[in-house]
């Protein structure tokens, strides 16, 4: 995990020191939805850091697991302690390249982002489709994708099998603005 953090900081540093066209949000929103026979569970995180390099089309996202807020305190506790083990793996990250980024204009366009998603200390290659829109002052990104818990070694005990879905729908919404010091 430490290596990812270091890499991420390194990427950030490179990004900042080059002084290129950076777009950033510190208040990106990610929420997830689990639909299971017994209950539906949602959690929201409004403190997501997302950076888009408008010159290279690279994208980096960093998420604090403990920033996911649940309706029930017990669910939040289990999510952190038992499932995502956020003391050991405090962050989830996504680093990738936006394909055909240079074609992006101020009309909403579906683009694919190809990169590596890291959750629970496990990294997987993933291509995520998202809606992009670029204006002078903003780069807007939103969309959703499915995370399969098994792929990231998140184990759900048999007792709560009917409470938690094995595939979780993750939605995101980022409003990047030009980065200024």
């Amino acid at each position: 995990m430490k290596i990812f953090t270091t890499l991420f900081c390194f990427f950030l540093f490179i990004a900042i020191s080059n002084g290129q066209e950076q777009y950033l949000t510190k208040n990106g929103a990610i929420s997830f939805f689990s639909k299971a026979p017994i209950e539906d569970i949602t959690a929201d995180n409004n403190q997501v850091l997302s950076i888009v390099d408008a010159t290279s089309g690279k994208m980096a996202i960093s998420i604090l697991i403990k920033s996911f807020m649940f309706k029930k305190a017990l669910m939040q506790e289990h999510f952190n302690e038992n499932y995502l083990e956020s003391d050991t793996f405090p962050k989830a990250t996504f680093k990738g390249v936006i394909l055909n980024f240079d074609t992006l204009k101020d009309t909403a366009t579906k683009l694919q982002v190809k990169g590596v998603l890291t959750i629970h200390g496990i990294s997987k290659e993933k291509t995520i489709e998202a809606n992009f829109k670029r204006t002078k002052e903003t780069i807007l990104v939103d969309g959703d994708f499915i995370v399969v818990l098994d792929e990231f070694n998140v184990e759900i005990p048999a007792v709560v099998e009917k409470n938690i879905a094995k595939q979780i729908k993750v939605s995101f919404n980022f409003n990047h603005t030009p980065y200024k010091k």
């Binding site: 430490k2 953090t5 950030l12 900042i16 510190k26 208040n27 929103a29 409004n46 403190q47 850091l49 960093s62 604090l64 403990k66 920033s67 807020m69 029930k72 305190a73 017990l74 939040q76 952190n80 003391d87 405090p90 962050k91 010091k181």
Partner: protein, 139 residues
Amino acid sequence: MKTKKIGIAVLILLLIVAFVAYNMYNKPHVNVSETSSDITITAAEILNDFTADETSANAIYLEKIIEVTGVISDIKVERQKGIITLKTNDDFGSVLSNLSDEATKDISSLKVGQTVTLKGICTGYLMDVILVKCEIIND
């Protein structure tokens, strides 16, 4: 007679178990304003701790109730939630404090440049130290 007594005892026991389980399931979130803070610190100090050694700072601060004092450099409301940025000595990092719904109502009482004390739960460090569910502490 005896079996009836046992039956009643078992029933009471079951009721207690059900009650405890129900309460555990509905356990409320930590009430930040009514809980005394674990750590009192300045914005510059907490950021410095995280930039110096994130892993050990995580062990100290994560999920703790932190009372942090600093000078406000930015105030905004996004998705109906108030966000206060506290200035530090660092060029890039700051303390991002996400206010509770209650505290967001009082956001107009705050001004950029003012020194303020906020109390919230630390969830970690990205570019900035993140605090959530913050309450504004009046001196």
